[in-house]
């Protein structure tokens, strides 16, 4: 099968891979690069578990054709912590009991990071809007919203 070369920036590192025609970004990240933090829940754009940032903006990696990220910057949950120091959002999620099964957490973190990067002091409604494309079936939305607001108070936008 003819493969296409692809280079992009992933969490401050340069990545060069060969991708299958039609491969999605999540496939390339998980199976090609080995970044397992984006999760695949639906492959159709409804659950948000695969959310990553492309040039700082949230995108669904399951619906992104891998070739379209040539030369762009991808951020995933794997790059959220600064070395051993957790991001304020990660700390807030831990302290706020904001995950049960943990499968939606990566996507929630990326969606909320995108929010805090642009809106450091969001209102509750803005937080709800920011994660409105992310489903949590353990129905833990309230602790998640609380954690994002709490992270914002602690300077979540770094």
């Amino acid at each position: 099968m003819p493969k296409t070369p692809l280079t992009f920036t992933l969490n401050d590192g340069e990545v060069a891979v060969f991708v299958d025609p039609g491969a999605s970004l999540i496939d390339v990240l998980r199976r090609g690069v080995g970044d397992l933090t984006p999760k695949q829940g639906c492959a159709q754009g409804t659950c948000g578990a695969c959310t990553v940032l492309i040039d700082g903006k949230p995108h669904l990696s399951c619906l992104t054709l891998a070739e379209t990220v040539e030369g762009r910057r991808i951020d995933t949950t794997a790059g959220l912590a600064g070395g051993p120091n957790l991001h304020p959002l990660q700390k807030a999620f831990m302290e706020g009991f904001s995950a049960q099964c943990g499968f939606c957490t990566s996507g929630m973190l990326m969606a909320s990071k995108a929010l805090l990067d642009r809106t450091p002091n969001p209102t509750r409604d803005e937080v709800i809007e920011a994660i409105s494309g992310n489903l949590c079936r353990c129905t833990g939305y309230e602790p998640i919203v609380d954690a994002i607001l709490s992270a914002a108070q602690q300077g979540g936008a770094r």
């Binding site: 025609p21 903006k57 949230p58 995108h59 399951c62 619906l63 054709l65 809007e129 409105s132 494309g133």
Partner: protein
């Protein structure tokens, strides 16, 4: 086996389209089909240059087909359509989904197109040919060629109404979408998810043309609002349910600006 072809311009990409091709814009429709093994196509066609420009022209607003919902929300010129774009998907979907793609979005999607139908937009092909959106939609199933832009005639902001009825708050897929331009004597009322494509409720439009917007004035329109629609059964709602609640939502749209 799937292949991906990337062309410098939209015009070249348009030349390359065949019956076994799909043009990839934002990816929210095409990649979903790819992920689920759609056997209807095996070539993905892309263009490097896409028109994401949104600007006011003499005739009204011109939106490049490659503009995303987030682009619409970021454009002051498109302020009228902010209420529509904001109701589509979550932030990630809005960063990806395009106005051009929405023209082809099947049920239960296509809210933006429903609004364009109520606004009497024109669809601009790659070759520059313009088609009224209503005829574009009626021939959509057999449409060939790529879309370059849509143009939206000037409408006063107070005359435009939009409502997306969902079961899930704050966001969910639409049971139905209603958009209306309440220009006196020239009312346009469009329903999404109430037929194979967004459809106009022409009987209700006539009843609204010179009506006052109060309980009595709209009663006739509510009565006939589903006459020109063909709602289907799907996992979100039955055809019967859609017909039953359509007047309820239309009333909210007309009297409360879409609020309960």
């Amino acid at each position: 086996m799937l292949s991906v072809e990337t062309y410098p311009t939209l015009a070249e990409a348009s030349q390359a389209m065949t019956d076994r091709s799909r043009f990839l814009a934002g990816g929210t429709l095409v990649m979903r089909a790819v992920n689920y093994g759609d056997q209807g196509f095996d070539r993905i066609v892309r263009a490097r240059q896409v028109d994401r420009d949104i600007r006011t022209e003499s005739g009204g607003l011109r939106i490049g087909a490659g503009a995303t919902m987030a682009d619409v929300l970021a454009s002051r010129d498109a302020a009228l359509l902010h209420v529509v774009a904001a109701r589509i998907g979550g932030p990630a979907v809005r960063n990806m989904a395009t106005v051009g793609g929405n023209l082809f979005a099947p049920n239960p999607y296509g809210e933006f197109t429903t609004a364009l139908l109520a606004l009497d937009a024109q669809v601009v092909g790659v070759n520059g040919q313009t088609t009224p959106i209503e005829s574009f939609l009626s021939g959509r199933a057999h449409h060939r060629g790529l879309i370059a832009a849509v143009t939206v005639p000037r409408v006063s902001e107070g005359d435009f109404r939009f409502l997306k009825a969902t079961r899930i708050k704050p966001k969910g897929v639409a049971i139905m979408t209603i958009a209306a331009t309440l220009t006196r004597g020239d009312t346009r009322l469009a329903f999404g998810n109430m037929g194979p494509t967004p459809l106009r409720a022409k009987s209700a439009e006539r009843a609204l043309n010179n009506a006052t917007l109060d309980e009595r004035g709209i009663a006739q329109a509510l009565e006939v609002c589903t006459q020109d629609l063909q709602p289907a059964d799907d996992p979100l709602a039955s055809s019967w349910y859609r017909r039953e609640v359509a007047p309820v939502h239309l009333k909210r749209l007309l009297l409360n600006g879409g609020r309960r």
